[in-house]
Amino acid sequence: MAWELNSDRPIYTQILEKLQVRIVCGIYRPGEWLPSVRDLAAEANVNPNTMQRAFTELERSGLVITQRNMGRVVTQDTQMIETVKHNMAVTQVDSFFVNMRQLGFSDSEIISLINNHTSQTDNTTVSN
């Protein structure tokens, strides 16, 4: 199954984000080997050079470490993974607030909507 990619943004940045998500949520665990560029490119249905570029970026950030001639592993620095996770959450919250303000909500209205939403979803999880 090809990865879901948007058509209006560079492919490699989207791949990079997807790989980061996989690392952050533990699909690729700290210290674990990553699939090869070729296999992942085939899985995502993207050009291997594009996948390589995303990997290079991951290496540059330190999230992934290349073992010469053997492949790549996820960093064992769990603190770094936590930082990436936190940054991704902040980005999500930022864009959420931008969108909500565009709809004309004030910050306090947004927060009360969030509170309502979480109490509702809490209830549904309880009733389930």
């Binding site: 090809a2 990619l5 058509s7 209006d8 943004r9 560079p10 492919i11 490699y12 070729r38 490119a41 085939a42 995502a44 249905n45 993207v46 050009n47 291997p48 050079n49 594009t50």
Partner: protein, 242 residues
Amino acid sequence: MNEQYTTAAPLLQINDLCKRYPNMGNYMSVFHMNLTIPRGRIIGLLGPNGCGKTTLIKMINGLLAPTSGAVYINGMFPGAESKRVISYLPERTYLENGMKVRQMIDYFADFYADFSKEKAYSMLESLGISPEARLKTLSKGTKEKVQLILVMSREAELYILDEPIAGVDPAARDYILRTIITNYNPNSTIILSTHLISDIENVLDDVIFMKNGSLMLYTSVDAIRSQQNKSVDAYFREVYAC
């Protein structure tokens, strides 16, 4: 030409290439085209109908003589040597209708030293095509698949595919693109011309836009996406809006 020169030369170089068709009112099909194509790329050759894509491809393959300018493959003019380097899928099928698929594979294996029968049979199996079928019994789309399998089963340096996916169904299209990705070799380049941009754009490194026989744009897919904030397909529709 010595060995050192050929390895240093770009895979494909096109210098000020022109093609005029005298019996078409001296129409310039390709007009002062310049291009240098490196190794290890997957490149889309894009442009509206009649913009000169197939004429250019035929000149690269030595099937048409340029009116002026030159084509170099590994520093050499098109000829027997370049046919060893290039695996070419023409826009029309040329397979012998009376032959069986298996015979066609033998024929290619005889002809091209870099042909892998193993690869060909494994692709045939994945696409559910019987090697014992005679070509005339196959549908148009299946024939196109067979031809593409033959072309992709070579270990060539340059693959030139003229409209490789137009006639095949979407599922087979995905398979073919995946085949291109998994067989990808960092030393070889694939040039493919197509109108189905959105289907292939994730697979491409670079795109070449042609217009009225000239090179309009040669850049990477991600450069278009980051500069224009739109897909190559959307950008194409904008550039060539009628």
